[in-house]
């Protein structure tokens, strides 16, 4: 395993010319064809279906590499060290490690982001939205055909205090392009009564969070909606399958606001199955710091992801100062 910087952002493509750029990052090389992403690294070559690859890449880029590990599948992934990012093959796969096939390089965040941004931009063709549920978007297959920059350059919503406060992130409305999703047409859009005395308009505040979520145009993309110091409530709308296995570097919590999500829980280091968590409306569950999870949402649902943004936590968990589960009883 080594540390390397970008050697060539736009390497020449090999094989058939389908109009897509090839990308190089350290000793990694990425190419795509009609159906697959091909990832070459010094110990071999890995393939992912291009739709799965782009959906995972979209989350990794949009989340700024998120908390901890983003597993694109059971071989390829990234680990965020908040300033640098590991790009790995087989790191969280016991068989790869035992066979000495695991490989990792570390990059400054801005460098890997530049390559991932470029790849997402070039490989996402017209009509395909990697943030949308599969039933809501076109297909990513075939030769290079236009782009979908509007979709892949969405900015993640991060409220400073609470959505809707003066100067904070705004509401979603028909007028600004956020219509109610087809699977949430029955979600009430009424607004709370707010009676603020003069001078207290920025403090006496309430909004329809579920209505706001019903208008989200993305899936599996937590957005910060309310903040209590480092406590971030990050609700999100989910449909179909979380495109990654997320291995957090700290404990996170889920509150199911409506409908149902089934979570597959695996060991964060080995991928060994540990549990299945079925969450229905009102259910609350912790995701321990040593697992990885993938969610399945048969119908579009609302999930409140609750995070602790204290940046000292990853080291405390990795050193064993904190137990990987949040409560003992």
């Amino acid at each position: 395993m080594s540390t390397a910087s970008i050697s060539n952002i736009e390497a020449p493509a090999l094989g058939r010319n389908l109009g897509y750029k090839a990308f190089a990052l350290g000793k990694f090389r990425f190419e795509r064809d009609e159906y697959f992403a091909h990832i070459y690294y010094p110990l071999g070559r890995h393939l992912m279906p291009i739709d799965a690859f782009l959906r995972a890449l979209m989350r990794d880029v949009a989340w700024g590499f998120f908390y901890g590990t983003v597993n694109f599948d059971n071989v390829l992934g990234t680990v965020n060290h908040y300033g640098t990012v590991d790009l790995f093959m087989g790191l969280c796969n016991t068989a790869y490690r035992q066979a000495n096939r695991a490989y990792l390089e570390t990059f400054p965040t801005k460098d890997i982001k530049a390559v991932f941004d470029g790849m997402l931009d070039d490989w996402t063709i017209e009509g395909f939205d990697p943030f949308a549920a599969p039933d809501e978007t076109g297909k990513p297959f075939g030769r290079k055909r236009g782009n979908n920059r509007k979709a892949v350059q969405r900015q993640r919503v991060v409220a400073a205090r609470m959505v809707g406060l003066p100067g904070d992130t705004g509401y979603r409305t028909d007028a600004n392009g956020y219509s109610v999703n087809r699977q949430f047409l029955d979600v009430p859009q009424d607004q709370p009564e707010v009676h603020a005395e003069p001078g207290f308009e920025s403090e006496v505040h309430a909004f329809n969070l579920f209505g706001y979520l019903s208008r989200s145009d993305v899936t599996w993309n937590p957005s910060v909606c309310s903040v209590v110091k480092d406590s971030l409530m990050c609700p999100t709308t989910e449909e179909n399958i979380l495109p990654i296995f997320h291995g957090n570097d700290r404990v996170e919590w889920f509150v199911q606001a409506c409908d149902e999500i089934i979570w597959e829980i695996e060991d964060g280091s080995s991928g060994k199955p540990r549990a299945k968590v079925v969450m229905k409306a009102g259910d609350v569950a912790a995701m321990p710091a040593d697992i990885r999870h993938k969610g399945y949402s048969p119908k579009r649902s609302m999930l409140l992801v609750w995070e602790n943004n204290d940046n000292t936590l990853p080291e405390k968990y990795s050193r064993g100062d904190l137990k990987p589960y949040p409560v003992e009883f």
Binding site: P188, D190, F200, V204, E260, A275, V277, M279, D283, F329
Partner: protein
């Protein structure tokens, strides 16, 4: 499936399933090789259905930060905190009344909500009425009171304080 309009939505082929005090279905943890306690699995409606009014029962804990399930019924005590909190209405119709105390009720260094002895002297800031899915800000330094003629459920995002109740063994799946 076509469902009827109820509560402000429109007719849809999809039915969104929310929970309530009167009706909720609980999922659970199916263990393969782990301890179910590590998932600290509970349900806010079940917790609220077994709570006294305005008990602040912890259902999520991330070191000092907590989320509390609260059964809102009648008038609550007055509370205040030295930091922002949020209250998400999960069921019912609940008013939150705010007062700007003449004197700060909670020192800056203290975390979590503090139960006050009564309504503090100060300027009325206003009030909000929230229903299911509505989120209210409980602003730093304000005193606030919940009023709910009928039972409802709130989810409070805050920091562990003297009023936070931890009864994990009673509310969580243990096996």
């Amino acid at each position: 499936m076509i469902v009827s309009d109820s509560g402000g939505g429109v007719v849809s082929e999809y039915q969104t399933i929310f929970g309530s005090l009167n009706h909720y279905e609980k999922g659970g943890v199916e263990i393969i090789e782990d301890n179910p306690k590590h998932y600290v699995f509970s349900n806010v409606f079940e917790v609220a259905s077994k709570s006294k009014p305005y008990e602040k029962v912890c259902v999520g804990k991330n070191l000092k930060y907590v989320i509390e399930a609260v059964r809102a019924e009648g008038d609550s005590p007055w509370y205040s905190a030295a930091h922002d909190e949020s209250a998400l209405c999960m069921d019912g119709e609940i008013e939150v009344h705010f007062v700007k105390p003449v004197e700060p009720q909670v020192p800056e260094s203290r975390e979590g909500s503090v139960k006050l002895s009564g309504e503090p002297k100060g300027q009325k800031m206003g009030w909000v009425k929230v229903r299911r899915g509505h989120m209210a800000l409980l602003p730093k330094g304000a005193a606030y009171q919940f009023r709910s003629p009928k039972p409802g459920v709130l989810l409070i995002q805050t920091i562990k304080g003297d009023c936070t109740i931890e009864r994990w063994a009673e509310i969580c799946q243990t096996k």
